[in-house]
């Protein structure tokens, strides 16, 4: 019986192994990728989980398994899942062992029947909660389907309690709190954003450009195609040009001209010059004079530019 059930929920084996041709050759015998590439939409269990997001918000998700749905159909009729209002009941169970009826208070959140998760806001800080998911039937009665775990919301604000051994004057404590940065808590701090920025920097390293959404090795093929021009190309064109770079080295205190133009030397006597190179024959003399022109050295480059289109 159990085995049959498991067979039903076994992942299908129509595999789509990604980028197969990119897989390394030396593992020919490996990788039977007989795995479905997606996660199940449900796990066949009726359950509800609640988690704290911050002191005032919690998140809950749930699953109602088929047997539970059938049970409710039997109890309340075939249309129960259409006719009744799905409802979250939020119990404040701070400091009590919850037995279903001893909560300090509770409130209901009506939700739409097509969702399987919800964010819930609470107004009071520093409380503990348990949720129930249920339906409200025609006469308004709440019929629970499933109960959640207990969630303790994160403490908010400075504790009113002081311990004797570590007692402190209010005014001194306030000073320490201020120096500890109490005013900056909870504000979307630059520090936290810095963390996110750091990741973005890391990620960007792999981006083809700074603004694009990241591409990964897994997706590079498609993304490269994205880079190709879209639509018919009408006006194709090309422009190209060339120039001449002359470089060399001489005594640091020499004077150098390239094609008659004075060139500034680096402290170690190196120099370089860029010269535009028009069509035809050119002679580029490089001349170095020692101080007071006592000595002269010359190198001449003969260059012929011929552009063919």
């Amino acid at each position: 019986m159990l085995k049959d059930k498991l067979h039903e929920s076994l992942p299908s084996s129509n595999s789509t192994s990604f980028c197969k041709d990119n897989v390394k050759e030396n593992r020919k015998d490996a990788a039977p990728q007989s795995v479905t590439q997606s996660l199940p939409s449900e796990y066949g269990e009726t359950l509800m989980v609640v988690m704290a997001r911050d002191p005032f918000w919690m998140f809950s998700y749930w699953e109602i398994a088929n047997d539970k749905r059938d049970e409710f159909k039997k109890r309340f009729g075939d249309n129960v899942w259409f006719n009744s209002q799905l409802t979250l009941r939020v119990y404040d169970i701070t400091d009590v062992e919850f037995n279903g009826s001893n909560a300090h208070s509770s409130f209901d959140v009506p939700i739409n029947n097509h969702t399987d998760n919800w964010y819930i806001n609470v107004n009071q800080a520093n409380r503990d909660y348990i949720l129930e998911l249920g339906i409200k039937i025609h006469d308004g009665t709440f019929v629970p389907i499933v109960r959640s775990n207990m969630v303790m919301m994160p403490r908010y604000g400075v504790s009113p309690y002081t311990d004797e051994q570590w007692g402190v004057l209010e005014i001194e404590f306030e000073r320490i709190l201020k120096l500890s940065g109490i005013d900056r808590i909870g504000k979307s701090s630059e520090v936290a954003r810095g963390l996110i920025e750091r990741w973005k920097y890391l990620m960007d390293v792999n981006n083809k450009s700074l603004s694009s959404i990241g591409i990964s090795s897994w997706s590079r093929r498609e993304k490269l195609e994205d880079q190709l021009p879209q639509g018919p190309v009408t006006d194709f064109w090309l422009i190209a040009d060339t120039e001449l770079v002359v470089h060399g080295k001489t005594e640091p205190d020499a004077e150098v001209t390239v094609a008659g133009i004075n060139v500034k030397l680096n402290p170690d006597g190196t120099f370089s010059a860029r010269i535009s190179l028009t069509e035809g024959q050119h002679e580029v003399p490089v001349v170095a004079h020692s101080p007071h022109k006592r000595m002269t050295r010359q190198v001449v480059f003969k260059v012929d530019r011929k552009t063919v289109k």
Binding site: H7, L10, P11, V23, K24, A30, A31, P32, S34, V35, T36, S38, L39, Y43, V49, A52, R53, D54, P55, F59, Y61, N117, M152, M153, P154, R155, Y156, V158, S159, Y161, D163, V168, L179, S180, G181, R184, I185, S188, S189, E190, V191, A192, G194, L195, I196, R198, W199, L202, M203, V205, N206, K208, G214, I215, S216, S217, W218, T270, F271, S272
Partner: protein, 537 residues
């Protein structure tokens, strides 16, 4: 020289080094592995370089360095390290070509020379001095008493959002186990992933022998009862672990985009990279196989101010170095003033705790490691009020601390769990929790199995579950960059987990599938499914 006992207070620098486990043996060339390679070149090796130099010159320093287990696994992985060495060789080769190309471009010469010298030095540190295993370097600094290496949750799992206690325990257990394999003793401290804490986590830490951890400021400020010294003294949890809270003032000096040091005009501009700037044919062989232009790691321009990338001015290594030295002086001055002031209003010596992401230094802020080196030199030579310490040293001198219950918190945006639980990523928890329940279920069910193949499947399920639990995936989803990769990773690990689960329960183990996963997802060689049983962990 620190006149011990004369100090007015303490400063504790904490660097948290972490990258998600990214290792794709099935590809010859994989982009996301660059995260690791870049961090090694720009952060981890520069750290080794400065720690070694300070050690040799007898300049006392203290750093508490958290190295996450995925990072430990990657830094000792043969495949990744041999790929890294090849990358580094290529980069050194590029700087050699660049020396020739820029021979007559004086504005870039010093920068190119700097890269060439640095990279050659880093290569010799990595390959020759430490035999391609950086962890042995950090072990050496730890054994010398200069740094305290701690670790982080097994795969940087976000503990407050796990529903099974066994999963929290496993995140802590496999972290300590990994640490012990590489450092020869149990870790004494832990960096909780994203400083994310809920009451109860501390008990798990204590049960593994952890003596201290860190929280965001309000984790301690909102504690019950109120903490007498705010963030300037540690507190003990009811279970007995010491908690050090983050100081916001020193954090902002380095972190802040507006007032922080890294944005200085003389510092290196991250985005202007030769991978984009140089002629395509010339740079092509240094890009990835797909030939798309990306950063290669050589950057020749400085921040220059708020100008477009094309208007950036050439980097000047001497100016940047001078700036790093002056910022180090400024940071030290501010700590001295801060500690003097605190000491005047407190009836004990204050401690200022400054935790940062390690990769901030070097990778993001290129001059960061240099800044730290100057800082430790200056602190050692030029003052005596502030004593750099590790948490253990502090606790030894100050064993009596207030006992409080810290508040649930994280160091993420808004201070709680929203970055890891919002509309972009909340869908993952249904699946993660199901896998966590299934792991406990099969750990119980096969607790007594002696069949080797079943044990292998169970242990591989542990690896897949842990990899899926990494807080990096929901974080990446929340940032909106590279979401595709994060989605795929978490889905892949959970799908693999589920397949193994059905294989096991239906008694149809697919050996080839198992072998393939053992080859790909080889993190935690000591993975042991029995840690998930209810009875004992």
């Amino acid at each position: 020289m620190y006149p011990k006992g004369k100090e007015k207070g303490y400063w504790c620098l904490v660097l948290h080094a972490h990258l998600p486990f990214v290792r794709h043996p099935e590809y010859e060339d994989f982009l996301e592995e660059d995260w690791l390679y870049e961090a090694i070149t720009e952060t981890y090796l520069p750290f080794v370089d400065i720690f070694d130099r300070l050690l040799e010159e007898n300049i006392d320093y203290r750093v508490t360095l958290s190295i996450s287990p995925p990072l430990m696994n990657m830094l000792t992985d043969e495949l990744l390290m041999s790929r890294y060495l090849k990358k580094l060789d290529k980069l050194v080769e590029l700087t050699e070509k660049e020396l020739v190309r820029t021979k007559f471009l004086p504005e870039f010469q010093d920068t190119v020379k700097m890269y060439h010298e640095n990279l050659q030095r880093y290569r010799s540190i990595f390959r020759d001095k430490y035999g391609c295993n950086i962890l042995t370097a950090f072990k050496k600094f730890q054994d010398a008493g200069k740094i305290e290496v701690i670790t982080c949750c097994a795969t940087h799992g976000f503990l407050p959002l796990a529903t099974q206690k066994q999963s929290v325990k496993a995140q802590v257990f496999f972290a300590c186990d990994t640490y012990e394999r590489h450092f020869g003793r149990r870790p004494r401290g832990m960096w909780l992933s994203e400083c994310a804490y809920v009451p109860g986590v501390d008990e798990v830490l204590v049960s593994e022998g952890i003596r201290f951890f860190f929280l965001e400021a309000h984790g301690v400020l909102y504690a019950t009862p109120r903490p007498k010294y705010g963030v300037f003294a540690p507190v003990f949890t009811p279970s007995g672990a010491a908690v050090f809270a983050r100081d916001i003032e020193s954090a902002q000096q380095v972190w802040s985009a507006e007032i922080g040091y890294p944005g200085d005009v003389d510092y290196r501009e991250f985005y202007r990279d030769v991978g984009y700037d140089l002629e395509y044919d010339y740079i092509k062989s240094y890009l990835h196989n797909d030939g798309v232009r990306r950063n290669v790691g050589l950057k020749y321009f400085r921040v220059s101010g708020k100008v477009p990338l094309s208007k950036k001015e050439p980097y000047n290594p001497a100016w940047a170095r001078e700036k790093a030295a002056s910022h180090a002086g400024n940071f030290m001055f501010n700590r001295e003033k801060q500690i003097e002031h605190l000491a005047s209003i407190m009836d004990r010596k204050p401690i200022v705790v400054s935790p940062y992401d390690a990769e901030l230094y070097g990778h993001w802020w290129f001059e960061g490691p240099m800044f730290l080196e100057y800082l430790f030199r200056k602190m050692y030579h030029d003052q005596g009020n502030v004593l750099p310490v590790t948490p253990i040293e502090y606790l030894k001198d100050n064993p009596a601390n207030q006992i409080v219950q810290p508040a649930a918190s994280s160091w993420g945006d808004k201070g709680y769990f929203e970055v890891w639980l919002n509309g972009t990523n909340d869908w993952i928890y249904r699946h993660l929790h199901a896998a966590q329940r299934r792991m406990v279920e099969v750990a119980e069910l096969f607790n007594d199995t002696t069949e080797h193949l079943q044990v292998r499947v169970l242990n591989q399920m542990v690896r897949e579950l842990l990899l899926a639990e990494s807080s990096d995936w929901p974080f990446i989803m929340a940032t909106g960059t590279m979401v595709e990769y994060a989605n795929k990773r978490i889905t892949d690990h959970l799908v693999r987990f589920n397949e193994l689960y059905y294989n096991l329960k239906n008694d149809r183990i697919n050996t080839k599938f198992l072998e393939d996963l053992e080859w790909k997802d080889n993190i935690f060689p000591n993975a042991d499914y029995k840690k998930y049983t209810r009875k004992k962990v």
